[in-house]
């Protein structure tokens, strides 16, 4: 499934150098677990986001492996250090091979 997937990320616009900021991410995705059955009793095949990564200027912040036990519209919240002005890059990897990306700029003032 690659329709209607929309990443949403909340990152502050500015931060002090070396400050720890909280990042909240959500992506709309049905996260079909592969356990459910349709009305005819056929198993609905698994279709989930299996990996999420967040980088800041190429340095890794967090790398998460997601399993079918993660809820629909996977939500993740974590904290990152901001050493300098730069760009956060968020990447979600779908089971079907699609990759969803989102970037957010942050200014150290």
């Amino acid at each position: 499934m690659a329709s209607g997937v929309k990443p949403r990320v909340k990152v502050p616009k500015t931060a002090a150098a070396g400050e720890a900021i909280t990042i909240k991410t959500l992506i709309s995705h049905k996260m079909e677990s592969g356990q459910r059955k349709d009305d005819d009793g056929n198993v609905i095949p698994r279709s989930i986001i299996n990996r999420f990564t967040c980088d800041f200027n190429g340095e890794s912040v967090i790398d998460v492996v997601l399993e079918p036990a993660i809820s629909t519209n996977p939500y993740l919240e974590f904290e990152a250090l901001v050493p300098e002005t730069g760009e956060f890059k968020f990447t979600w990897y779908d089971d079907d091979g699609s990759v969803y990306e989102e970037t957010k700029e942050i200014t150290v003032g």
């Binding site: 356990q35 998460v64 492996v65 036990a69």
Partner: protein, 138 residues
């Protein structure tokens, strides 16, 4: 229907298989843990798992893992059809070893978080969540 000897044996074999199922589920769990820890012993210590005591809806149960030093944290739900939930790997720019997300739980069960510390040792924390409506559909 007459209970023949053949049927009795089949019944017995069926019952034996059914009884064996929980064992197989826990074997999968042990495999998962062994894969993560490499067979090392798992102690208690620098890991906290925050989960609600009662979750009304097993489809979205908010959980949070945190630790002071962990490099990696794996979350497992013991009562789910597949025990794995997520593995968090913290990079250089992670300000804290904290992450929260929402998970699915099939029913009332224990949730475990296992953390890999920088010295190569492993610690775990467990939390029991009561689930009113399971989150596995069908």
């Amino acid at each position: 229907m007459e209970l023949t000897r053949r049927k009795a044996i089949l019944l017995g074999a069926g019952a034996f298989l059914a009884a064996g199922l929980p064992f197989r589920a826990s074997a999968a769990l042990e495999d998962k843990i062994a894969e993560f820890t490499g067979g090392a012993e798992v102690g208690a210590g620098d890991i906290q798992l925050t989960a609600p005591e009662i979750a009304e809806n097993g489809n979205t149960v908010p959980i949070e893992v945190s630790s002071d030093t962990a490099d990696e944290i794996m979350v497992l739900a013991l009562g789910n059809p597949t025990p794995s939930v997520a593995t968090f790997k913290f990079g250089k720019l992670a300000a804290s070893r904290t992450a929260s997300t929402r998970i699915r739980l099939a029913g009332t069960q224990d949730v475990i978080a296992i953390a890999k510390l920088p010295d190569g040792s492993f610690v775990q924390a467990t939390s029991t969540v009561k689930v009113t409506i399971g989150g596995c559909g069908g």
